[in-house]
C-alpha cells in the first residue's frame, strides 16, 4: 500500500512546481497553466485523502475544483485576449496596472 505521505509529497512537489511557474514565467498563458498545475496538485491531495479516509467529500471537492478551473481558464483567457488586444502584450511584467 502506498503511504499517504507519498501522495501528499507528490502533491506538494507539483504545487511548488506550479507556484514556481507562476512566479518565474513571464508569459501570461504559461502562468495560467501553472495555476492549473497547482489546482491539480490540490486535486491529488483531495482525492488521496478521500481515498484514505473513506469519504466522498474529497472527490466531490476535486470535481468542483475542476469545474472552477474550467471557469478560471475561460475568464482568464478572455482577460488575456482583452489585454493583448489593448497592449499587444502577454507578458505579466508589462502589465502593472495594479501599481498604486
Amino acid at each position: 500500500m502506498i503511504p499517504l505521505s507519498a501522495y501528499v509529497a507528490l502533491s506538494a512537489i507539483l504545487f511548488i512546481t506550479g507556484l514556481l511557474g507562476v512566479l518565474i514565467r513571464r508569459n501570461f498563458i504559461i502562468v495560467l497553466m501553472s495555476v492549473e498545475i497547482m489546482l491539480n496538485a490540490a486535486n491529488i491531495n483531495l482525492v488521496a485523502f478521500s481515498h484514505y479516509l473513506d469519504s466522498m467529500a474529497g472527490q466531490m471537492s476535486a470535481l468542483f475544483v475542476i469545474a472552477i478551473a474550467a471557469g478560471e481558464a475561460a475568464v482568464g483567457l478572455a482577460i488575456i485576449i482583452v489585454v493583448f488586444r489593448g497592449k499587444m502584450a502577454t507578458n505579466v511584467d508589462q502589465i502593472n496596472l495594479l501599481k498604486w
Binding site: 507556484l19 507562476v22 512566479l23 514565467r25 505579466v92 502589465i95 502593472n96 495594479l98 501599481k99
Partner: protein, 660 residues
Amino acid sequence: MSDLIVILIPVFPLLAVLINGLLGHRYSPELAGRIALGSVGLSFLCALTVFSSIVSSGTAREVIAYSWFFGGDLHVNLGFLIDPLTAIMLMVVTGVGFLIHVYSVGYMHGEEGFTRFFVYMNLFMVSMLLLVMGNNFLVLFIGWEGVGLCSYLLIGYYFNKVSAAKAATKAFVVNRIGDAGFLVAIFLVFVNFKTLDYTKVFANVGQLSTEMATAIALCLLVGAIGKSAQLPLYTWLPDAMEGPTPVSALIHAATMVTAGVYMVVRTHVLFDMAPIAMVTVGVIGGATALFAATIGLVQTDIKRVLAYSTVSQLGYMFLACGVGAYVAAIFHLVTHAFFKALLFLSAGSVIHALGGEQDLRKMGGLRRKIPVTFKVFFVGTLAIAGIPPLAGFWSKDEIMAHAFMNHEYGFYALAAIGALLTSFYMFRLTFLIFFGESRVDPDVEKHIHESPSNMTVPLVILAGLSVLGGFIGVPPEHGWLHGFLAGVATPVGAVPHEVSAGTLLGLMGVAIGIAVAGLGLAYYLYIVRPQTADEWAERSPAVYTTLLNKYYVDEIYDMIFVEFFKKVGRAWDWFDQNVIDRVIRGIGHAADSSGAGITWIEKHVIYSGLNVVGYANHLLAWSWRKLQTGLVNHYAAVIVVGLFILVHFVLLWVTGKSVL
C-alpha cells in the same frame, strides 16, 4: 431806606449791561452811552440814599436778595451787607464811577465799539458793587472775579493790539493766582466756621486758633496782593495801561485795585488775630510802596508813571493795614481814588489832546495849550505829593504817623522814602508834561486842543474832591471818617494811644518837608537844569537801566513761570503722546505681537505638526509604494511567503514547537 434800593444799586448797571449788550447794535452809540451813564447815575443816587441812611442811623443791616446755592451745611445767599465801610466804598465806587462814565462819554466818543465799552464799564460797576456790598465771602468773590473779568475785557479793549491782548491775559492770569489764594481762604473759613457770612464768621472768630487765623489771613492776603497789585504780583498793573484811559482811572486806580485793601479791612478781624500776617501785610505794603516808586522815577510813559504810582500808593494802604491803621487805609483809599482818578483822567485829557501820544519825551510845555487840564493835573500832583491841605497829605500823613506811633520805625522810614520819591516823580511828570520846551511832534502840535466840557467837568469835580476830600479825616485820628468807621475798622483789642500834639505836628512837618523836597528836587532836575537827569543816568547806567527795565521782574517771571510751564507743558505733551499713550497702546501692541506669536505657533507648531504627520505618511507611502510593483508574480510571491510564515506560526501555536 428799603431793601429794594439796596438791591437796585447793582441792578441798574446790570440792566444797562443787558440792554446795551443784547440790543446795543440796534441803536446809536450815543443812546447806549446815555443808558450806561443813566444807570450809573441812578445807582449813585440809590447809593447816596443808602449812605445817608447809614450816616444817620449808623447801624449795619443785611439785605438778602435770594438764596443762591445750598446743600448740606452750606448755604450761600446772594445778600448784601450795608455797613459804614460798604457805604464809604459805595460812594467811592458809584461816585467816582459816575464821574468817569461822564468823562468816558467824551473821551471814547467816536471809538469803534463804543457800546461795547460801556457794556464792559457797566458790568464792571455791577461787579464792583457786588464786591463791596456782599454780605459773605462768595458774593465778594463774585465781584472779585467779575472785576477781574471786566479788567481783562477793558484792558483788551483794543484787542487788535498784541500788547493789549497780552496785557489783558496777564492781568487776568495774575489776578487768578491771587484768586486761588482767596479761594483757599474761603475754604478755610468754611471749614472752620461752617458758614461764609461775614457776620457769623466775625462773631465766632474767637474760636479760631492763631495758626489757623494766620493761614486764613495769609491766604486772603494772597488774594489781596493779586488784586491790588502788590509785590510780587504787581506786574500786571503797569501793563494794564494798554486799556483806554478812563479804564485806568476807574479800574486800575480808583476802585478795583483797592479791592484788596477793602478786603483786608473787611476781614481785619482775622488779620488782627494773626500778628505774623499783619507784619507780612505791612512788609509787603511798605516794600511795594518803595519799590514801585523807584520804578516810577524813570518811566517815560505817562500812564505807566501813574500806574507805578498807583502800585506805590496801594502799598501805602497795605502798610496802613499792616500797622493796624485800617481807617487810615480806607481814608487813603478814598483820597487816592479822587486824586488818582483825577490824575489818570487828566492824563487822558493830555493824551486826548496829543492825539494818543503817551511818551513823556514827546510832550512838554503844554501848560498854556490845555490850561484846564494843566490846572487839574497840578492839583492832583499836589494832592498825591502830600502838599497840605490837599487830600493826599492828610491820608498819607496819617499812615506815616500811625506807623511812627506804633513804633514801627522801619515802616515809617519806608513810607517816608516812598513819599519823597512820590513827590519827586509826580512833579517830574508834571514838569515834563506841562513845563519846559515843547518836544511835541510838529504835526501833532497843530491839533492840540483842550478837551470838551463833558471831560473837563468831571476833572474839575474830581479836582475839587482832591482838594477837599481830605477833610473828612481831619483832624487826624478823630475826623468824621474815623468816627464813622469806628465800628467796622477798629483793630480788635487795639489800645488807643495818646500822643502829644507836638509829635503829631512834628510828623506833619516832616511830611511836608519830604513833599517839598521832592518838589524841589524835581524842579531842579527838570526845570532848572534839565540835563542833570540825563547826566545822573549816565553816571550810573546800571541803576538807571535796572529801573527803566523795572528791575527785570517781568523777564524773570517770564523765565521762571511762563517759559517754565510752557516747557513742562511741552514735555508732558510729549510724555502723554509717547509714554502714556504708548504704554496703553503698548498693551494693544503686546496683544498684537502675542497674536503674531500665537499665529506663529499655530502655523509652525500645531498646523505644521499635523502636517508633518500627514506629510510623513505621504513620504513613507511614496517610498513604500515601490513595493507595489503591479506585477502579479511579485504579489503572488509575497502571498506565498506570507502564507508560509503564517502557517509556521499556526503550527507553532498548535504544536508548541518549531517546525524546523
